[in-house]
Subunit: 184 residues, 2 copies
């Protein structure tokens, strides 16, 4: 049932955004009774939080190219593709935007990004293990720095985003990391 409801929420958000999201439409699309949706998730904002929690659990391929530079580029490309490729971008972007507009969204957003940042930080930890970086580097902060300029554009300023910008964000985080900025 949960998967059907999450799929319905994503489909509704992709087509109409947060303003158009209603429990009625999620019920119709998912085949789950409206009363069940209200009882279990409370309403639209609870459904958005559930969809975001589900997305945070989704597996994604953490890059492991053997080079921190290439791995960081792969991480920023994953953000770029995940949020802007027409094949994936609509639902993911609509979901984050909806959570930003929802009264219950803050906690769901915090959890979603904590999971994503922690997962991606593996590329930094591996670089330490390979001896590319000294121990003591703040792996999550490296990923935050590489990806924050992309999220800033996507969800705050609405500025366009492309591969060159994603590459540059990865290169900036790498340069700062190599300069020791994130090492205690």
């Amino acid at each position: 049932m949960r998967a059907a409801v999450v799929d319905a929420v994503l489909a509704e958000l992709s087509s109409g955004g947060y303003d158009a999201l209603t429990v009625e439409q999620v019920a119709t699309r998912s085949g789950v009774h409206k009363a069940t949706l209200y009882r279990r998730w409370g309403g639209v904002d609870g459904l958005v939080a559930e969809a975001l929690a589900h997305s945070a659990e989704a597996e994604w391929a953490i890059p492991d190219t053997g080079s921190l530079a290439d791995d960081l580029r792969a991480v920023t490309h994953a953000v770029l593709v995940g949020f802007t490729d027409p094949a994936y971008g609509g639902a993911a972007t609509a979901l984050i935007s909806a959570a930003l507009r929802s009264t219950q969204g803050a906690q769901a957003l915090a959890s979603f990004f904590a999971t994503r940042l922690h997962d991606a930080a593996a590329v930094v930890t591996r670089a330490v293990e390979r001896g590319e970086l000294p121990a003591g580097v703040d792996a999550v902060e490296v990923i935050r720095t590489a990806t924050a300029p992309l999220y800033f554009r996507l969800f705050i300023t609405g500025e366009p985003l492309d591969k060159a910008i994603a590459d540059r964000a990865a290169a900036a985080a790498l340069a700062a990391t190599e300069a020791g900025v994130f090492t205690a």
Copy 2:
């Protein structure tokens, strides 16, 4: 009248947030008739956009210490203080959060940040003029990189922010700039 309305919007947002903002309360607090507010700004979202446009025009002291490192630190500190100091932070943070939740907010946010980033980019332009950096550096991207991790925390993940984090974000942008990441 505009100043009274903007002050009233900021005061209402500071005390109750976007969910509690009503044209009625802005009318009461500003002394401007409700019908006038509706006619000129259309409603709550138009009032939020107006307050954000007004904030973008507000003068702020662009740092000019003679050193790019110190200037970038001053820029990230200005973001930190502006959005987290109890004396200023409530209204500014509530305003950006409201715009993120408003259907008309996207354009207002784009304009606000375009103005802020452009203003702050003067610290990079001056570093080029002093010979600290080569010509051809993307000054706005340097500022975007320095400040995006702060905005990401403030408005997307809700993670805490302090002076050490602001310092580190400035240091990361400086290291990337000096490594030539933002130079064409």
